[in-house]
C-alpha cells in the first residue's frame, strides 16, 4: 500500500525548483494516473525557465542507467528528464550502485509514473536518500482560484512590493519588471500572462 504523496501543481514545484541553489539538488515529480509524463515534463521545464530565468535542458528518452550517469555527469545546466518508465527494477538497482557518478553541480528533475517511483524506493536506497522530501505528486491543471482567493493573493503582493496592479503592468510593458517569480504570478493573476515574454 502507498499513502498519497504530497500533491502540488506544476507552477508551485517549478517555483520550488527554481529557488534551490541547484548544487546537486534532485527532485522527483510523480504524475497522476493516466497523465502524460512527457507533456507534464515539458510543461514543468517551460514553467521553470519562465520563473527562474535560466535555461533547462529537456531529455525525454533515457535507455539505461549507464547512459544516464554519463549524461548527468557531463551536463552543466539544469535538467528535466522523463522516459524512465520502461526501466526494469534491475536498472534502478544498477543506477543506485553508480550513484557517485550522478554527482553534479546543478539541479535535476525526474518526471515519472508512480510505479517507477515505487521501483526507486525498492531498488535504489542510496539514490533515494538524495531526494530527501523532494518527491511530489504533480497536478497538471492549475487549480482555479475563487475570486476571493485571487483578490487575497493580489492584496498580499501589493503589500509585499508597495506597487499597484497598474504599476506592475506598466513596468512589464516597458520591460523593466524584475524577473522574480512573484511578478510572473502577479501578471497571471491579472490575466496579463501575455506580458511574461515581453
Amino acid at each position: 500500500m502507498n499513502l498519497p504523496l504530497r500533491s502540488m501543481d506544476i507552477g508551485e514545484v517549478a517555483l520550488l525548483f527554481s529557488a534551490l541553489r541547484g548544487n546537486g539538488d534532485w527532485i522527483v515529480l510523480v504524475v497522476e494516473p493516466g497523465a502524460d509524463v512527457h507533456s507534464i515534463a515539458d510543461e514543468f521545464a517551460e514553467e521553470t525557465e519562465m520563473l527562474a530565468g535560466f535555461s533547462v535542458r529537456r531529455i525525454s528518452e533515457m535507455h539505461d542507467a549507464s547512459i544516464l550517469s554519463t549524461l548527468v555527469g557531463a551536463e552543466k545546466g539544469a535538467l528535466v528528464i522523463s522516459g524512465l518508465d520502461a526501466w526494469e527494477s534491475s536498472e534502478w538497482a544498477h543506477l543506485d550502485h553508480l550513484r557517485s557518478r550522478l554527482a553534479r553541480h546543478e539541479r535535476t528533475a525526474l518526471v515519472m509514473e508512480e510505479k517507477t517511483f515505487q521501483r526507486i524506493m525498492q531498488e535504489a536506497p542510496n539514490f533515494s536518500s538524495w531526494l530527501g522530501a523532494n518527491v511530489v505528486q504533480c497536478k497538471k491543471v492549475l487549480p482555479i482560484l475563487t475570486a476571493e482567493e485571487r483578490e487575497r493573493r493580489l492584496v498580499a503582493l501589493r503589500e509585499w512590493s508597495g506597487l499597484s496592479d497598474s504599476d506592475v503592468i506598466t513596468r512589464a510593458e516597458a520591460q523593466v519588471l524584475p524577473s522574480d517569480p512573484e511578478y510572473a504570478e502577479w501578471l497571471v493573476l491579472l490575466r496579463r500572462g501575455d506580458l511574461l515574454n515581453g
Binding site: 504523496l5 529557488a19 550513484r99 508597495g162 524584475p178
Partner: protein, 394 residues
Amino acid sequence: MRDDHSFWEWTIRPGEGHTAAVRNRREIWREFMGCFEPSSDPRDAVQRGFYVPRPGRTLAEQLAARFEVKPSASHLLVGGVGSGKTTQLLVAQERLKAHGDVAVAYVDVSLHLDPNQVRPTGFVAAIGLELGKTILDAKRSDLTAERMASLGNFLDPEAPPWANDPLDEFLGYLKDFIQELAPGTTDRILFIDSLDRMSDVIRFSDLVNVAIPKCRAIGIGIVLVGPLTALYGIHRTVLDRFDRVWHLSSVDVDDGVGGRQFLRSVLDKRDKTGLLLPESSERLVALSGGVMRDLIALTQSAGGEAYLDDAEQIELRHVEIAADQFGRKQLFAIDSEQLSVLQRVRKSGTFVQTSEKDLALLATRRVLEYTDGKPRFAVHPTIEPLLAQIAGEP
C-alpha cells in the same frame, strides 16, 4: 519573527526599492537551502567548514590513532545510508595526512565499476586507476600512462577477457603508484568507499577474503566501507578478516542531551542567516532520528516550504509539512510484511533481522538502530505518525 539582521535583509527598508528586497529574499532562501543539500559531496561540506565532530571521541580520531600504531591494519566501516561514513573517512584522512610520513588516499571504487559486480582484480584495478590519475595530474609519466591503459582495459566491459588473472601484476602497480605519490613514506593507507552498495554479501565476502590479505601483504592498510548486511547472517565470518569493525549508527536523540546538542550545532553551523527558529531546529533534530543526511534534507525541505509560504523564517508548521512529505516518501513501496515489522518496532522497539527484507528496512532508515548509548531500535520519526494513522489510532 525575529527583529534581527536576517529579517531586515529582505524587508523593504525606507528609501530602498522593492526590487532589491525581492531579490534579497530569494537569494537569502537560495543561500540557506544551498547550505542544506542532501546530495552534496561530503568533501564540499568539509571544505565549507560545515563539519562538526560527533560527541565523544569521533570515529575519524579513533581510526587515525589506530593507524598510527598499526599502519597495515584493515578496518571495516558500516552504517546506514546517509549516516556520515564518507565524511568520517575524509576527516580521518586529513588527520593522518597532518601527521606526515603517511601516504593516504581516498578512493571511490564506484567511479570505475559497479560495486555489486566487483571482484578482487577489478577492485585493485579501480584503486590503481584512481591513484594513477593523481600521478598523471601532477606530472607526465609514460610508465604510469601505460599501466593506466592496462587497468582501464581490464575494467572495460567491452574488452575481451584476459587470458590470465593479472591480480598480482596490478598489485605491483599499486605498490609502485603509492611509492611514487609519497616517496619516503613507509605507512600506506587506503580509504575505500562505496562498497556499502554491494547487495551480494557472498561476493563481498569473496572480495574481502582475497583482496584484504593481498593488500596487507604489500604493506597497505585499508578502511573499507562495506554493506550493513555484512554484520548479520551466515556470512558474517568475513568480519574476522578485519582488525576492527566500526558501526556508525544514527545519533541517539533520546539518550541525554549530547546527541541533540550535536545535531543542533550541525544546523547552527549551516544556518548563517538565522532563518531557523530555535523551536524549529529542535523539532528538526528530533524528526531526523539522528540520521545526518535526513537532518540536512528535512531542513532544506522546511526551507522550501517557508519560501513558498512567503514566510520570513522557518516555523514549526513548515517543519511538520516537510516531515510529513518525507515520511510519505519513506513509506512508499512498503509491502504488508514490512508494514507489520514496522508496526512492531514502533510499538515494542523490538527488531530481529531474520530476512533480507528486514535488513532492507535498516539499510533504508525506516528502522533506525542506536548503538551509542543503550542499544535500541526505533522507526524513523517521520513515519511514526503515518504508521499510527495506518493502524487507525487516534
